[in-house]
Every structure is written in structure tokens, then in C-alpha cells.
């Protein structure tokens, strides 16, 4: 039943798959983000209370969502690597860390820029903002831990344990606005409830979320390719790729 999964143990197969998926995701991301930005910044009306300042959510919400999604991918693949010692799972986790860190940083920065005119402050140590900052530190810690251990196998295992342990922060970020009182507002879009947002604003937001998701997959494919080439630099099939100028 799980025969197909063994193909993902073959580096040339994964490399070829990532190679054709990367531009597919890239084009999808570009279309979603360009249309989303146009609908969000030009077509969508101003908010009744915040005026045009609310438009920063078209970047803030997708990157905050991605900061958690990427972490879940990283933690899951780290667990798979720890249990089954699957090489590809480790490459996915390694590839995801800087992408996730970037999304987290964008979420924190855009939030700060919005916070100053709306709340009256760039930063407040409330549960949501603090746990999101902690997520950035976990990402940075993961990358630092990986690069500080010389032996690649040991580095991969140590970093994977950190990634798995750090996953407890994800529900804390998500539920922080419900468990405690915070300055940050509760979620606008939840699965169970009708979104508290007008459809003209919701459409570009969902498009941007899809665009950021595809952007992550695009970057993941590009970095997975790099990861495979680095690890397999001395193999015959990579030498062949280089000889044919196809890298």
C-alpha cells in the first residue's frame, strides 16, 4: 500500500519532481499575489473605522498564518525524520526553517506598523505578540543549532528534537487571544463561524493566503533541490546533471 512512498527515498526522483513543481507553484503564487494585491489595495473599499490602514492585513494575516503552517510542516517532517530516519524529511525541515522565519518576521513587522496608528503603540507584551516573537526565536534557534554542530547527522537529530518540542508554541499562538485577554483582536476568519469581514475584503485576503501558501511551496521546492544537491554532491547523477548544465 505504501510502496509509492519509497520513491521519495530516491534523491534523483525527488529532485526531478521538485524541479518541475517549483515553476508551477511559482507561477501560481505570482498570479494569486498580483491579483490579490490589486483587489486588496485598489478594488476593496476602505474600512469604516480604520480607513485605508487596514489594508496591511492583506500581507499581515497571510504571513502570520504561514509562520504557523510552515512550523507545522517543519515539526511534522522532523518527527518523521526522528522516527523513520527519512532523509527527505530532514531536508524539508532544513529547507523550511528560514522561509518560516521570514514569514514570522514579516508578520511581526507589518503588525508593528499597523499597531502604531491603530492601537497607539508598535509593541505590547501581550500573549499573542509575545508567543509569535517566541516562534521567531525558535526558528532562529533551530537554524543556529543546526549550523553550530559540525557532524551533519548529529546536527539534524538535535535540530529535529528542538523542532518537535517547539510545536507546543503553535496552539499557544493560535488560542492566545481566547485564553487570555490581549490587545490583539481575536480571529476574523474561523472555520466554524461566519467571517467577521465583508466579502469585498475577504476575497482578496483569501487570495493572498493562497498566494503565500503557493509562495512557500515554491521556495520549499527550490530549497529542497539545493539541499539534495548539497548532500549528494559526490554522486554520479549529480555529476551528470552538472556535466549537462542542467542544475
Amino acid at each position: 500500500m505504501f510502496k509509492w512512498i519509497h520513491r521519495f527515498g530516491s534523491s534523483p526522483f525527488v529532485y526531478r519532481t521538485a524541479n518541475w513543481l517549483a515553476p508551477v507553484f511559482g507561477i501560481g503564487a505570482a498570479v494569486c499575489i498580483l491579483v490579490g494585491l490589486y483587489l486588496g489595495l485598489v478594488v476593496a473599499p476602505a474600512d469604516y473605522e480604520q480607513g485605508d490602514s487596514y489594508r496591511i492585513i492583506f500581507v499581515h494575516v497571510p504571513s502570520a498564518w504561514m509562520s504557523m503552517f510552515v512550523y507545522m510542516v517543519m515539526a511534522t517532517s522532523s518527527a518523521v525524520f526522528l522516527i523513520w530516519r527519512m532523509k527527505l524529511a530532514d531536508i524539508v525541515a532544513w529547507a523550511s526553517a528560514p522561509i518560516g522565519a521570514s514569514f514570522t518576521l514579516i508578520a511581526l513587522l507589518t503588525g508593528a506598523f499597523w499597531g502604531k496608528p491603530m492601537w497607539g503603540t508598535y509593541w505590547i507584551w501581550d500573549a499573542r505578540l509575545t508567543s509569535e516573537l517566541l516562534l521567531l526565536f525558535i526558528y532562529l534557534g533551530y537554524m543556529a543549532l543546526r549550523s553550530s554542530i559540525e557532524q551533519p547527522q548529529t546536527a539534524a537529530r538535535a535540530a529535529a528534537i528542538l523542532a518537535v518540542v517547539g510545536v507546543v508554541n503553535i496552539p499557544i499562538i493560535h488560542f492566545s487571544v481566547e485564553w487570555w485577554n490581549t490587545l490583539h483582536q481575536p480571529a476574523t476568519i474561523t472555520k466554524l463561524d461566519k467571517p467577521s469581514m465583508h466579502i469585498s475584503m475577504l476575497r482578496p485576503l483569501l487570495l493572498m493566503v493562497a498566494g503565500f501558501q503557493l509562495l512557500y511551496f515554491h521556495q520549499l521546492m527550490v530549497r529542497v533541490k539545493t539541499g539534495i544537491l548539497q548532500r549528494e554532491a559526490r554522486t554520479a547523477w549529480v555529476a551528470e546533471l552538472v556535466a549537462d548544465n542542467r542544475v
Binding site: 469604516y48 473605522e49 491603530m118 518537535v164 485564553w179
Partner: protein, 158 residues
């Protein structure tokens, strides 16, 4: 699954459970410190020492905002719909500050029970809509009320 993998799976699961339990206890212990603000009811109940600095959160009572003509000082009442606390503040208020709006203020209680704020932040709610839709909802009396979450219990002001 080989026994070795089963063992590693158990190890990862145990690690996750252990860390989760530890974090739950930690967060429970610090619960009141993680809360960003106290509600007007907490203050009326008298769990706060006079002069200690803390944050208060609530909704600005409609019709209670009194601005001074000569300087930047402003007085208003803050409510969680159950109790009210008078607040004074001197300085520039955030753009979103208005009657009925949720706010969070930092400061301390003086001896007459007034909260003297040194900083006022506006709390935004999760509702987004164009001005025309907001007007239409207001006319129909269906405007979603501003809500303030007190950590577990959400108070909605219609």
C-alpha cells in the same frame, strides 16, 4: 514497523506529552500575569492595591467622554457592562479612541478610586467592513457590538 522505529515513535510521543504537560502547568501558574489587563469588575471587587501600576481594559461608556478645552486632559468612564471605573488621561489619544470603543489603559488608582492613565491604547475588534455597509447595519440595528475578551469570558457591548 520495526521494533526500533516503534521505540523511537514512543520516545517522540512521550517527549511531546511531557513538554506539553510542563507547559500547561507553567501557563496555569502564570495565568494572571499573562492577562494583559484587569476588568472594571476586578477593580470594584477591590483586588488592586492603591498606587500599584497595572492595565485596565474595557469599553468607553457612551456619552461619558469629557475633554478639557485648555489642555489635552480627558475624562471618561470604562465599563465591562457590569461595573464602571472613572479614568483620567492627559495626552494624545489613538485615532480609534471613541465612545463605545474597547481600550486598554496603563496607570494606577488614586485614593478617590479614579484610574489615572499614563498611556491609552485602542483595542480593535475583528470586524472589517466598508463604511456604507457599517451605516446600513447601524440603521438596521444589526451592527456587531464591540467585544472585549477578559480571558475565557467575552463581554459584548451592543
Amino acid at each position: 514497523m520495526t521494533p526500533k522505529r516503534k521505540q523511537r515513535l514512543m520516545l517522540v510521543a512521550l517527549m511531546l506529552v511531557g513538554v506539553s504537560v510542563a507547559v500547561v502547568f507553567l501557563l496555569k501558574a502564570f495565568n494572571s500575569n499573562i492577562m494583559l489587563f484587569k476588568s472594571p469588575s476586578d477593580i470594584v471587587a477591590g483586588d488592586i492595591q492603591e498606587g500599584s501600576r497595572f492595565r485596565i481594559g474595557g469599553m468607553v461608556v457612551e456619552g461619558s467622554v469629557k475633554r478639557n478645552d485648555t489642555d489635552l486632559s480627558v475624562e471618561f468612564q470604562l465599563t465591562d457592562t457590569a461595573n464602571k471605573v472613572p479614568v483620567t488621561f492627559t495626552g494624545i489619544l489613538p485615532d480609534l479612541f471613541s465612545e463605545g470603543q474597547g481600550i486598554v489603559a496603563m496607570g494606577s488608582l488614586n485614593n478617590s478610586g479614579t484610574f489615572v492613565a499614563s498611556e491609552v491604547l485602542a483595542k480593535h475588534d475583528e470586524n472589517y467592513m466598508p463604511p456604507e455597509v457599517a451605516d446600513a447595519l447601524k440603521k438596521a440595528g444589526k451592527m456587531p457590538g464591540t467585544s472585549v475578551n477578559y480571558g475565557g469570558s467575552t463581554v459584548v457591548q451592543p
